[in-house]
Symmetry: C2
Subunit: 259 residues, 2 copies
DNA sequence: AACCAATGGTTCAAATAATGAACCAATAAT
DNA sequence: ATTATTGGTTCATTATTTGAACCATTGGTT
């Protein structure tokens, strides 16, 4: 691992649950030497990627990342485009919808929309890490990802989020074959109990999967009507989003042919 | 310059005008060795901070920056808070408004709002670099920045954007004293011709200036009425934004006492 | 008040990783 | 057909990173 990769990997320890991290904690989390972590963080701080919280001396993400994200969006406006698609999809289905993108070996939720129709709804946060094996979005991505990538994910540790999480690699592979056939993944209580999610893959310009679009509803609201309406609306939204970002579905993707 | 700083500095060459950069260009821009740039970019790519555009092999910012920006916003929600303030300020003034933040030694526009009132309006882009000496926002920041910081900026090269740009350090310092007195900066055609900008500083929790809030109007619309209304609305918006992000104005900031 | 265990931060010889000139293959321009 | 330029690679030399040990402070225990 090069020095730069090491420094950037430190940024990976920040999350919603851990927005600020002290030097000692970072040392423990990363397993690196304290002096090393200190020097790397000092460099990241110099560049504005992290800053030190006021009273405390612990680190948090810095303002420089905002500039980069704004430029990224200007070059590849996935988030801004997705907001419209998500809003429409939430309106159509009456449920919470979200977009997640593949970032290295992890899948991150990055944009979401709610519907005002029901008082109860599935809540989402942006920049949350989703597992590939335990979420409909993750399965939708895996089903259309490169075999090497799938192998890498399935050979890693597969945690159980709920009692309903499938963690057996062979069972997951069987599931993926099914997803490939219908072009959509479902997960009932696999990540959060009482949540029924549908997800379709989103493709980039090279016809490679770059993320997933999902509808998350309380299981109690999954009536026959909804179970018919959601897949249809979702498939349409997936096609729209892939198209608007200049993407293209691969030849073997069933939703296109069926459209 | 450490290796990490060097790698991150490469990200600084991306902008709206240059969203994708090839290896040779990046080598020339940075003045580093080609092999070095290649290795650094490879590491940045590995971490998802840049990616290579499809057909071309040139680099552009990667998806990983989106995740970090979402987390930064979750920890310090300046952008989301500012959007409301900017929208209100645009409605009140009928003009374009924008927020810029200090990021290291540069000032970046990061959020903006338009008013639908007039057909012509000053256009803005996010993640644009503003100069300290040539914009109202920059002057508002400098006027309340640490003396060392001001010295560093004014001792660097000061480019002329338009015929009206003031580039003499002593003239700028005199201007800054004036800004400190009234708590607001103005620039008429200093960055873009025909644009009259007003700006107030925004302060962080430690009473240090972190950026500026500005109203940008065509000079032709700067009637006596507007020239009275804009400063008042802007001062109010500045106070609101500083307050909402948990910031505090320093004791010598005049807008507070006047309120 | 003395003690202990944390914390963030610093030092310096030893180990390792970064560097840069030269080189290659493949396009693009003349 | 020739030349320049592109992205990418190599490897001995060089310079940076590393890590164990060390401080100074802080907060909690007894």
């Amino acid at each position: 691992m090069g020095t730069v990769t090491k420094a950037l990997s430190l940024l990976g320890y920040f999350s919603h649950g851990r927005p600020e991290i002290g030097l000692s904690d970072l040392t423990r989390l990363s397993g690196m030497n304290k002096a090393t972590v200190y020097r790397l963080m000092s460099e990241l701080q110099e560049s504005g990627f992290v800053e030190q919280a006021d009273g405390d001396r612990s680190y948090r993400l810095g303002p420089q990342v905002l500039r980069l994200a704004a430029l990224r969006e200007a070059a590849v406006p996935i988030l801004s485009v997705s907001r419209r698609v998500l809003k429409d999809l939430s309106t159509q289905t009456g449920e919470t919808t979200h977009l997640s993108l593949v970032q290295g070996s992890q899948l991150n939720s990055l944009s979401h929309a709610y519907s005002p129709r029901h008082a109860t709804r599935v809540m989402m946060e942006d920049a949350e890490v989703l597992t590939y094996h335990g979420t409909a979005s993750g399965l939708a991505v895996l089903a259309f990802a490169e075999p090497d990538f799938v192998d890498a994910i399935l050979s890693g540790p597969l945690h159980s989020h709920t009692a309903a999480t499938v963690t057996d690699p062979e069972a997951i592979r069987a599931h993926l074959r099914e997803v490939r056939k219908v072009g959509m993944a479902q997960s009932v209580g696999g990540f959060e109990a009482e949540v029924h999610s549908h997800a379709v893959p989103v493709f980039g310009p090279d016809a490679k999967v770059i993320g997933a679009l999902a509808v998350a509803a309380p299981v109690s609201r999954m009536t026959a009507d909804q179970a018919a309406l959601i897949p249809e609306a979702l498939r349409g939204a997936g096609r729209t989003l892939t198209h608007r970002i200049g993407g293209a579905a691969p030849a073997d993707y069933p939703n296109e042919a069926a459209a």
